[in-house]
Symmetry: C2
Subunit: 248 residues, 2 copies
């Protein structure tokens, strides 16, 4: 795990549904976060929280339960409140994508909290006042209600992408064809299409350029060039064996 | 709603938990997506789906239920599979953040599908083969299990941010102080600090530059300058009234 991610804690203020605590833990684990703090949860521990945590039981087991927001933020150098409507907040308000690098910057020198409010009404003004920054998840203004675990998921995702660059582990790699191989393919194809009387060398129109465009977009691999040349060779062979069909 | 978002459908292949269907619908609605297609859901409609959809019941009500992936993708010009481990996939694999603008680009000319696999095992190879592109949500490689509704949330969020620029509606705005007001504040502060014998004009050290740095970071507002000058004036007044204290 990256050291900066170890310094980021997720604080849930008065979560009322244990399922959301479990969902938040699972979201955190997928994004490399480990430290969960619960301020006055309605029910915890709880079987539903454990069920929705799936493989993230260790996060639930090590979760801290406290009774005040102050205790939850103790030891942090930055607290970022997640809020959809921080109208009362006088500090910096930014989209969560912009807040994520800030969280990581402060995590270089100390603990950072991501603070989430209760399901029904979000963060209270008193809780917001404890935050130095507010991060907002952009949503359709007509429907700005995110589920609590879903909000934790998006925020944790942004932190993880900011920390890691969001690289996906390497895609299956294939050997790209060389330009020489591709040119030989086109030369072969042109001969075969002429043999098929589909291309008329004296009136070629735009056929070859169109085919070039198609295969350029596809970024041919060596193996694919071999397959295509195999198909062309088979057509050539059939044309040789077939009786010459002047008409038709 | 933006026209491009109207052309994006979310396809859930064989979802086994109705709660995830509801969670997906809620995630979609918050991000401006409306069109849900279910391929062979275990249970639908279902009370749990409706409960977790919260305000997104209209998405459930208009969801299409089909029996094949082909039917789900009918009419699309691009299908993007969401997969954590597309080892068998020979096409373009990219992080979901890079895939989102591609989805919107194709949505200019037709319908686009975001295709999600079943909870336990994700997309099958047969389903992946129907996709022209695979999008991956970056996760901690040791814990790459995202809940289905959480994966829909992250993908829909990336689409929404790509479509809208991710601007958050305007923060509460306050009148910033002018440079003149700020310079008058510093001049006043310097006099008062000297009066307090905290600043020695002949040996000022780095006190004023440090204070300037602090207040520069804070981006002072008019109202705040007024408050600070009020505090300084009160200190000045007390110093005048107080007996001169040469020694402590």
């Amino acid at each position: 795990m990256m050291p900066a991610l170890e310094r980021i804690r997720v604080v849930l203020c008065a979560p009322s549904h244990p399922g959301n605590i479990g969902g938040a833990a699972r979201a955190m684990q997928a994004m490399g976060l480990q430290r969960l703090v619960l301020v006055n949860p309605s029910r915890f521990p709880d079987a539903e929280a454990s069920a929705l945590a799936a493989g993230a039981l260790s996060i639930l087991a090590s979760a801290r339960v406290v009774t005040t927001i102050e205790a939850a933020l103790s030891g942090t150098v930055l607290a970022i409140g997640l809020s959809a409507r921080p109208r009362q907040f006088a500090g910096a308000v930014m989209p969560v994508r912009a807040a994520a690098p800030e969280a990581l910057r402060f995590a270089q020198s100390g603990d950072v909290a991501l603070v989430f409010g209760t399901e029904m009404s979000g963060l209270s003004n008193a809780e917001l006042e404890r935050c130095q920054m507010v991060a907002t998840i952009p949503t359709d203004p007509q429907h700005c209600s995110l589920n609590l675990a879903a909000a934790v998921q998006v925020a944790a995702y942004e932190i993880y992408v900011a920390a890691t660059g969001g690289t996906v582990w390497s895609a299956p790699t294939f050997k790209p064809a060389t330009q020489d191989e591709i040119e030989q393919l086109f030369a072969h194809g042109e001969r075969t299409l002429a043999g098929l009387n589909f291309l008329y060398p004296r009136q070629p129109k735009r056929l070859m350029p169109r085919l070039r465009r198609l295969f350029a977009r596809a970024r041919l691999e060596k193996e694919e060039v071999n397959i295509l040349r195999g198909i062309l060779a088979r057509i050539d062979q059939r044309l040789l064996n077939a009786k010459p069909a002047r008409e038709q």
